[in-house]
Symmetry: C2
Subunit: 304 residues, 2 copies
C-alpha cells in the first residue's frame, strides 16, 4: 500500500535522529558540551566599555566592504579614533608563557627601532608583511582541526581569516605610497620564512602562547603607529593625501590625509590585539568550542 | 564666496588622482603592470555554455549565506541540477604532469571503491575530510606570495578560501546523518597528515600540478556522488529527510530530501573541478596576476 514507504521513511528518520542524539550525548560526556554556552564568558575586562565600542566601530569601517548591498557604517571622527587608545589597553601578563611572549616582543622592539629609526613608513610596510602571517596559520590550523575532529569550528576560522586579510590590506595601503628597495625585499622573504616556521611550530605546541605573542606584537604595532602619528603631527613626515586604496577600504572622504589612514590602521591593530589576547585566554581555559567574544559585540553584529 | 570650497575640493581630488596615477605608472615600470588585463583570457571552453550557467547558479545557492541583507538566489529545480553533469565535463589531460595527476586519481579510485564499496555515506564523509585541505593550503600559499612579493593577489585567496569552507560544510552536512566509527576517525587523522604534507609539497614544487590534481580529484568526487544518487534512486539507500544544516546552507524547502542535498553537493564539486582546472591553466600560462575567470561569471557577480 501507499502507507508503507512513508512509514518506512519516518521510521528511518526516527532511527537517524535517535542515533544522532545518542552520539551527541556520548560525545558531550567525553568532551563536554560543545553546543551549550560555555560556563564562563571570557571578555575584555581590562579595557573600558567606551573604548570597546569605539574599537568595534572603527573595525567595522572596512568590514562591510565585501557586502555591496549594505550601507556604510557611520564614519568615526578623528577625535573618536584618537580616543581609542585608552591607558588600560595593555594586557598584564599572567604566568610564565605570557611573560616570555611579552619579553620577546619588547626585545624585538629594541632591534626594529634600531633598524628603522624614524623611517616610520618603511617600518610599517615591512611590519605588515609579517603581521599578516599568524592569522593565516591560525585559521588553517582551526580549519584542519575541524576536519580532523569532525566537528564545528564556531567562527574562529572566519575571525582569523578576516584578521589576515585586514593585515594584508594594510600592506597594500603602504605599498601605494612606499616602494621597498631591493635590500628590504630580500629581508621580507627571509623574515617570512623564519616567522612562518617559528609561528607554525608555536601554534603546534602552544596556541595559547602563539595568540599571546600576537597580542603583544599588536601592542608594539600600536606603539609604532602612535609614533608614526606623532611624527606627522611634528611635521617630520608630510601629511600627504591618503592613497586611493585606503580611501576605498576605509570609506574615507576624498580629501582624507595620511594621518586619517594611520589612525584607522592603528584602530585595526587594537582590534587584533584584543582578539588575540582573547583567543589566548580561551586556550588557557580550554574553551575551544564556542564562538569568540568580539570587542563591542553588539556593534559588530549589524547594529553599528 | 561659496564657489571656493567646492573648487578647492575638486582641485584636491584632481591632485590625489594625479599623484595616484603617477605612483601607479612608476610602480608598473618597476614591477610590471599588475592591474592591466591579461593578454589572453583563460576560460572553460571544454564545457558548454548552458552547463556553465547552471553550475554557477547552483554554487550561488550558498554563496549569499554570509550576506544576510541580500535576498536568496532563485532555487534550482531537480532537473536543472541533474542537467549540470554534461558529457563534456571531463578535462582532457595535456602533457606529462596532467597525465600523472589523472593517473593518480584513477588509481586512488580503485582503492577507495574497494574500501568503501556501496557505503556511499561513509565514503562521502571521509572524502570531505581531505577535500577541504587543498583549498586552505593554496589560499595560504597565495596569501604568503602576496606578502612576500608585495603585490596584489587578484581574488585568488578568497576563491580558494570559499572552496575550502564549502568542502568543510559538506563534511558537517554528512556528519549530521553519519557518525564515523573509531577506526574511521583514526584513518582521518592519518589521512590528513599524509595529504597535508603531500599537497603542501606539491604546491611548493608545482602549483600547476597541484591544481590539476584537485581538478581530477573533483572529477572522481562527481562520479562518487553520482553513484550515491543512483543508489538512492535504486532504493538501496533510503531517501531520508535532508539534515537541517543542509536545508539552511542550500536554502532548500523544509521537506527537502537526501537526494536534493546530494545533487547540490555534486554541483559544488563540479564548480571546484572547473576552478581548479582553470587555476592550473593559469599557472601553465604564467598568468598569475589576474583575477580567476569564474564559470558563468555574470551569474556569480550579483546577476543571478
Ligand atoms: Fe597591520
Ligand atoms: Fe596587526
Ligand atoms: Fe565536497
Ligand atoms: Fe570538492
Amino acid at each position: 500500500g501507499l502507507g508503507n514507504p512513508v512509514e518506512k521513511v519516518q521510521e528511518q528518520v526516527g532511527k537517524v535522529q535517535d542515533a544522532f542524539a545518542e552520539e551527541k550525548k556520548e560525545r558531550e560526556s567525553i568532551l563536554g558540551s560543545s553546543t551549550s554556552k560555555p560556563k564562563f564568558k571570557l571578555g575584555y575586562d581590562w579595557v573600558d566599555k567606551e573604548a570597546q565600542v569605539l574599537i568595534a566601530r572603527a573595525y567595522n569601517r572596512h568590514k562591510a566592504l565585501a557586502d555591496k548591498s549594505q550601507s556604510y557604517p557611520p564614519a568615526l571622527g578623528v577625535e573618536d579614533l584618537e580616543k581609542i587608545v585608552p591607558p588600560n589597553l595593555h594586557r598584564k601578563p599572567e604566568g610564565l608563557l605570557d611573560h616570555i611572549a611579552l619579553g620577546t616582543m619588547r626585545l624585538l622592539r629594541v632591534f626594529t627601532n634600531a633598524f628603522f629609526g624614524d623611517k616610520y613608513l618603511h617600518h610599517a610596510t615591512l611590519l605588515e608583511t609579517v603581521a599578516a602571517v599568524p592569522g593565516i596559520i591560525a585559521s588553517a590550523s582551526r580549519h584542519l582541526r575541524s576536519l580532523r575532529r569532525m566537528k564545528r569550528d564556531h567562527s574562529w576560522i572566519g575571525t582569523l581569516q578576516e584578521e589576515s586579510e585586514n593585515e594584508r590590506m594594510h600592506l597594500l595601503i603602504w605599498l601605494a605610497i612606499n616602494q621597498p628597495n631591493m635590500f628590504e625585499r630580500m629581508l621580507v622573504i627571509f623574515a617570512q620564512g623564519a616567522y612562518f616556521s617559528f609561528y607554525s611550530l608555536s601554534y603546534l605546541f602552544s596556541p595559547r602562547f602563539a595568540h599571546r605573542l600576537v597580542g603583544y606584537l599588536e601592542e608594539e604595532a600600536v606603539i609604532a603607529y602612535t609614533e608614526f602619528l606623532h611624527s606627522i603631527d611634528a611635521g617630520k613626515m608630510p601629511n600627504i593625501p591618503a592613497p586611493e586604496i585606503a580611501i576605498e577600504y576605509y570609506r574615507l572622504a576624498p580629501d582624507a590625509k595620511l594621518r586619517d589612514v594611520v589612525l584607522h590602521v592603528r584602530a585595526d591593530e587594537i582590534m587584533h590585539q584584543m582578539v588575540n589576547h582573547h583567543l589566548s585566554d580561551k586556550y588557557k581555559h580550554k574553551d575551544l568550542d564556542s564562538k569568540p567574544t568580539f570587542v563591542g559585540q553588539d556593534y559588530r553584529e549589524g547594529q553599528w
